[in-house]
Point group: C2
């Protein structure tokens, strides 16, 4: 690829689709290059997704984990942000069609990520919201908080209990985090505030189809997580498939379980944009890229982050986590710089695993750093420090620290604010809180 080296006065147009961890890393990595960069996102903000479950469970406010893309990149003169949505890509013509126009590119980075998937049961979406965007988080927050309000108004014991039953489908990190936090809210935050319903009677049920929780962790940590959830009062059922979901509850195999609040933390599907790239995709819709993350046959197109399916030299796949997306972004920026300067390309992309963390609840977490495995209080401290350190922006760090310190001492969750309305299709009779 030496023939694509640039003359010093050339300014290749790099179009980046998606302002997540991957897309931003490319933009920042090319800050001192000759490139003209256009970053396109359909939202105006970058989202610190690892803490999204805290917005959903009313522990943090939305602005604490989100920052305007324009603000992040305002000091970078070679970068432009455009609020728009790519609808298709023409790799032959090097052209992206947007909802509001089209763009030509010299280099294209596709980093549009993944969303939740319902394994062909799209009708479950309205009963069991997933957690990918701030609006998803508000929907979950609204439903969880209103469930307790419905319970308080309900006189019939069985109907009241159905409002106090919470089902979380999927035992990965998000499912474990949601379940642990919901149990904490029911046991510690709310009890003194209700006069008729008793929030302590809430059941939080975590259902996982596979044999164990947190499959990305070592088996002994899965077991530790299970025990810590048990202590918090979460009922865990592994090896249990959800076969139906409707407004009254879920079917666990053949057994109905009544619950008006069901949260989806199970399936992930890659952004549909991947399928317009004319390249092989895996079952989840992720694009199978070359070892240098470029599209087969198109060295000017890169796919990174959750949308990319990468198998490393040692045969292991790269996990769909934020650090991997960041590393891919930095790798692509370095590859482009080398190419433009006529230097040799870097060796194939290799994911450096700096450790995996999942929090479980108040002062409980699991962490795995290579062979080192931690759980309980120590893991929780590591989780806390790591997440504050990686938050974008000094102000956000300060506010999140303050919020957490506050929540730690008081058990209060300061963002317990119901706003917005739910889809009218969701439930039977409308209730005033939803209007």
């Amino acid at each position: 690829m030496e023939d694509s080296a640039l003359a010093p006065d050339q300014h290749p147009h790099v179009v980046i689709l998606g302002g997540g961890f991957g897309g931003l890393a490319v933009a920042r990595g090319l800050a001192h290059s000759n490139a003209r960069i256009t970053l396109i996102d359909r939202r105006n903000h970058h989202l610190f997704q690892p803490l999204l479950y805290q917005v959903a469970t009313a522990g943090l406010s939305a602005p604490s984990i989100a920052a305007p893309l324009r603000q992040i990149l305002r000091g970078q003169a070679n970068a432009t942000v455009l609020l728009d949505e790519a609808t298709s890509i023409d790799v032959a013509q090097r052209r992206v069609t947007l909802a509001n126009g089209e763009l030509k590119y010299d280099v294209l980075i596709v980093a549009t990520g993944a969303t939740h998937a319902y394994f062909g049961h799209d009708d479950w979406a309205s009963y069991a919201p997933g957690l990918k965007t701030l609006d998803d988080a508000f929907t979950i927050r609204r439903r969880v908080l209103l469930a307790f309000e419905h319970a308080e108004r309900e006189d019939d014991p069985a109907r009241r209990q159905a409002w106090l039953n919470f089902v979380i489908v999927g035992g990965g990190a998000t499912g474990v985090e949601l379940a642990g936090t919901l149990a904490e809210i029911a046991r510690h935050t709310l009890p003194r505030e209700f006069r008729r319903a008793d929030p302590r009677k809430a059941n939080v049920l975590l259902v996982e189809a596979g044999p164990r929780l947190l499959p990305a962790f070592a088996p002994e940590l899965s077991e530790k997580a299970r025990r810590q959830l048990d202590k918090l009062g979460v009922e865990v059922r592994t090896g249990t498939a959800v076969t139906a979901i409707d407004r009254d509850g879920v079917m666990l195999g053949e057994t109905p379980y009544p619950a008006h609040t069901v949260l989806w933390a199970a399936g992930v599907a890659a952004s549909p944009l991947g399928r317009s790239l004319d390249a092989p995709v895996d079952r989840a819709g992720r694009v199978q890229v070359e070892p240098d993350l470029s599209l087969p046959g198109h060295p000017e197109v890169f796919v990174i982050g959750d949308l990319a399916s990468v198998t490393q030299a040692d045969g292991r796949p790269v996990p769909g986590v934020a650090p991997a997306a960041k590393q891919m972004g930095r790798y692509v920026a370095a590859t482009l710089e080398a190419r433009w300067q006529g230097r040799a390309a870097p060796p194939p992309f290799r994911y450096r695993d700096d450790g995996t963390l999942a929090t479980i609840g108040r002062m409980a977490a699991v962490a795995q750093f290579g062979r080192l495995k931690l759980s309980g209080l120590l893991a929780w401290w590591v989780w806390l420090i790591a997440h504050i350190a990686f938050l974008i922006g000094f102000r956000n760090r300060l506010v999140v620290m303050l919020d957490w310190a506050w929540a730690y001492w008081t058990y209060a969750r300061h963002a317990r604010i119901v706003t917005g309305t739910d889809e009218p299709a969701r439930r039977g009779p409308p209730s005033p809180g939803e209007q």
Copy 2:
């Protein structure tokens, strides 16, 4: 009314409709009484409305100015909170009909406040949102932030300018605060972040039908406010009526003014519940109450806050502001305690004016304390300290102070996060940020 004194074992049921400043003041004022209290609100939170414009202009996050009603009252054993909406009141049967049932009362407090009114032009609502709830604030925030995004995408100069023109209708405190903050955002917060549109070309037009801004203040302060707005770059037009509003802009008398973003800060109408009380109402729908704030002929029903029309002994009306609502709430609690204990009723309600404040923008405000009139930097400091002091909750005060200090030094507005969707009827072609 001595005959309604209570035996010590009696527990009159006090039903409070509305958890604003007035309703909460009654509930808290009766904390040590024999009463059983039921507070009903259709939202789960109390809102610190004087700072709502800061949520709308992305300076504060919603949880900073809102607190769950249950949390506020959780320590008060004789109070119950119910998330529900009163639809009608039967004063003869002493019964309130709710969206989800009904309630009998011994004493009723109606404190359901006011909403914005469009003077018979209800079709203006979708083009010119008002500011009463958190959802209203999110709508305004979304439209303001997206207007700059539309401008950035627009190539045609006239069409771009229409996205950079902002009209605020109504020159009271809310209108002045919105106008000043919008000008600050356009001039100071955004300029370095856009590459095509220039936010400094934004026009902020404040339109007032009456002869001067801030009619609740002394004329010289209206003039000071006008000059301070002028310095910030706001164009003020008093004596100008808006005669039409649609998606393309407003009509100022016979002159069209193109603007895609119009905010409504003009009319206020009392809650429709007042009309079901079978009592005289004024033109704005406010209930004309007795000097002790009770309903004529119904000493067991009180109307307080923005819903009440009270003329004091000196002939002056009580203004529709938060301190007045609080004072009315405390007055009613004291009246009830006196009645139950067989003591003489307090003298007629009298509003104690502790001063009026309106902020205009960065380091500018006007303040009036009896004959003392302040403007500029000193008034701004008074405003700042007063608003932080009255915020509910220690945590909120700390976070708001931090946010303001941060914004002061950096001009950044940390809550610049677009979430949710707009009404589909609002604009022509859908844009991705609105989907």
